[in-house]
Symmetry: C2
Subunit: 455 residues, 2 copies
């Protein structure tokens, strides 16, 4: 391993410069105008992988293409085969005015690299590519066969990947999948994530009058859809943070004593979290710590509100409609289809007759839970400890990576979640960044991982 580790150490500056090139693509999958940027980014990735010595190709889909890159391998090598999954698409960068520098012009300040997609997920998947580069360029034998699967639709629900997995089931058959798209609490505190939250996304629109009305001439005799929406949404949550929709918590398994103890090891106090978020006060479901709330409990979150006039000054109207974008985070044992059904039924039942309710369904994904005591999980814990020089923690993470359930369903394989993002990385927020020590540590972790998994 010494040549591999030495190579990684020697080439950090170049790796950071290459990651900068990767980050310059505005690969925003939610916004149709960025389709050419996604294609250009995928083509750049293919070339980069080929340059490292991988068999890489662009696989077209109905949406954005998938990049597949494999280590060259002997037939029936007998080596274990692992997939490394990541995504090259990114969240929308808006609101642009809140970025210190433009989101697609990478900037280094101290040990941080700022750019949209830096931590979620380009920087994290690039760390794995650099570890393989170190093996290949130093002529160190890789003890595993590896296949990188880098998709362009993760931020919009991975619509094409599921079909792709089914279509290429034999080619992608593997012992496990490795994903770095989660977090670790601090640069000196590596983590193995053993659970993820699921998600359902939808949009509700309440329609009142046929058009915006003069609020002087008509206001008072007709429902205001923005008020109706506020009153409908207000009923969803009680003052203690509990979701009041009957059945919402169906199937949610209580946290075991062991799990609550593991979660307590998470090194971020409520005080520190409050400071990190810049909130005046933390708020969440009574009876749970902040770390439990955001990792192990379901939520009903309003992601956006739109109604009426939003420009400068005032416009005295009763708006014709009001809309909310909503996502619910789900936890293990909650079924997305069931939660969607009861939430939609409740909304319909509670919507006043003065407005018409329209619900547009978005993506959905089950939560994920694996055993942290399995052989691959133990190998991963050893790799983390060797790479970062400190004992890793076990954690549940609040985000959703819908595709891990597809991996289990289609390929029958578990996923190792070995995230190297930090809580203050501003994923999905303005001024997203990636810590360069985590980048380097992630490369070492990946290098050790193939030894430990094969060992």
């Amino acid at each position: 391993m010494q040549p591999v580790l030495h190579y990684l150490k020697q080439h950090q500056d170049r790796f950071v410069a290459e990651l900068g090139d990767y980050l310059r693509f505005a690969s925003v999958s939610a916004q149709p105008q960025h389709k050419p940027d996604l294609l250009a980014c995928a083509q750049w990735l293919v070339k980069h992988c080929q340059h490292l010595g991988l068999d890489a190709s662009l696989r077209p889909t109905a949406g954005h293409p998938i990049v597949v890159a494999k280590t060259k391998r002997a037939k029936n090598s007998g080596k274990p085969h692992y997939l490394v999954y990541g995504h090259y698409d990114v969240q929308p960068p808006e609101p642009l005015e809140l970025w210190t520098t433009p989101p697609f012009e990478p900037r280094i300040a101290g040990r941080n690299l700022f750019a949209r997609g830096s931590t979620d997920n380009k920087g994290q998947n690039f760390a794995h590519l650099k570890a393989v580069e170190a093996y290949l360029k130093t002529g160190t034998p890789l003890p595993c066969d590896l296949t990188f699967v880098l998709e362009g639709e993760e931020e919009v629900g991975s619509k094409s990947l599921s079909g792709f997995l089914k279509q290429h089931r034999a080619e992608l058959a593997c012992d496990a999948i490795v994903v770095s798209d989660t977090g670790m609490p601090a640069p000196n505190c590596p983590a193995l994530t053993y659970a993820l939250r699921g998600i359902i996304a939808f949009e509700i629109t309440l329609r009142g009058p046929a058009r915006d009305l003069h609020s002087g001439i008509f206001g008072g005799a007709v429902e205001n859809p923005a008020m109706a929406l506020s009153q409908l949404l207000a009923k969803v949550r009680d003052e203690k943070g509990r979701i009041k929709i009957p059945g919402f918590y169906d199937g949610v398994a209580p946290l075991s004593k062991y799990e609550r103890e593991q979660i307590k090891r998470y090194p971020l106090s409520d005080m520190k979290l409050k400071k990190l978020l810049g909130a005046t006060k933390l708020f969440g479901e009574k009876g749970f710590t902040a770390t439990e709330q955001r990792s192990s409990r379901p939520t009903f979150e309003i992601n956006g509100l739109t109604s009426g006039y939003q420009g400068e000054g005032s416009k005295t109207i009763v708006p014709a409609w009001a809309r909310a974008k909503i996502t619910c985070r789900l936890v293990p044992n909650q079924k997305p289809a069931h939660v969607r059904k009861i939430v939609c039924a409740w909304l319909k039942q509670n919507c006043p007759p003065t407005v018409r309710l329209e619900i547009t369904a978005g993506h959905g994904a089950e939560a994920y839970l694996v055993s942290p005591t399995s052989r691959p999980a133990q190998a991963a814990l050893r790799a983390l400890e060797k790479a970062f020089g400190t004992k890793p923690i076990l954690m549940r993470e609040g985000g959703s990576i819908p595709i891990v359930n597809e991996f289990k369903k289609v390929l029958g394989a578990d996923t190792l979640l070995l995230g190297i993002g930090l809580p203050d990385d501003n994923a999905h927020s303005p001024d997203e960044k990636f810590n360069l020590d985590c980048f380097a540590g992630g490369q070492r972790m990946s290098a050790f991982l193939w030894q430990e998994l094969a060992g």
Copy 2:
């Protein structure tokens, strides 16, 4: 009067074409980029008035200029002096995609002229100018001295006009002010409006975390400002349509039996109103008819909601802030400053400690109420009857014309509200229009009015 009426009849086509020219100016006072359009519109008006034979001039203000146009008069003519007030600024035209044709490209269909500002207020003030033109061009002696005051800031609170009135108190001293900026129920049903609602405008912003947060990583442990805003706004109104803020109805005088009877004469059934508005159901404060609700009761109206992500697709965030634009309509005896104070205090008191509340105050105006039995009001009723050939109704209107209170305060004069807009004119809405029969009737009404007032 015959030459005047004949002249009006002969020149309708030209008048409509001229009104089209007036409507082509995008004089949107709320939007700074339209400042040059307001100036161009005001300059066009000055030239047009001069062309009619009026002494017209542009009066600069700190905001948009005021157009003043006077009939030429002998010193100490002994004639009564009336002001005709109107405004050449218009509401923002957004949402543009809901207009059948562009808002500043006037279009005639049947007896309607479609354009932003057609009914509110360009078409209405232009009717008065055309009546004066008929007097002047036919050499018919005008029995009154007239001064037109056409401002460019009505839709943003008439900020400059009040100071202008004070500065030119002597020049503008008058027997009464005539304003056509209200409505009549139908083209064959003229109306004198004897009351208007007042208004207070404000904007509230609830701020939570310092930036938009990843709803997976942090959702559940921090307040969602969009939910906090919904819950705060939801508390404002009960399920029967009554505003729950204590003291909100302070001073509201109950409607007298006589007034309720007058309001009953308003020829628009609930069924017709529902159809006109395109609502599935009417909704308003229990114990009042729809016409009472929208003319004689105060409201708390959400004009706009803004929070988080509003683009295509989804963005899984806890938004950093949520905002509502709000106006309350007020009725006679409610004091705007008092209502603003109790509403703001209530919002502060009811805002949860998990978010910071910011309130930005907008414009405000008292409600207006005059006697419909005064000598000028009786003269106006006779002019309406002669112009439209049918007995006018007395009505309260729900809109606000803040400046009528300033006229009373500064000039000590009452205002005659002789609106010629129709309920389906889409004032403040897409596809705003003005009825050409109302335009012609309004010109006749104005012509008769000066005779009746002087008589």
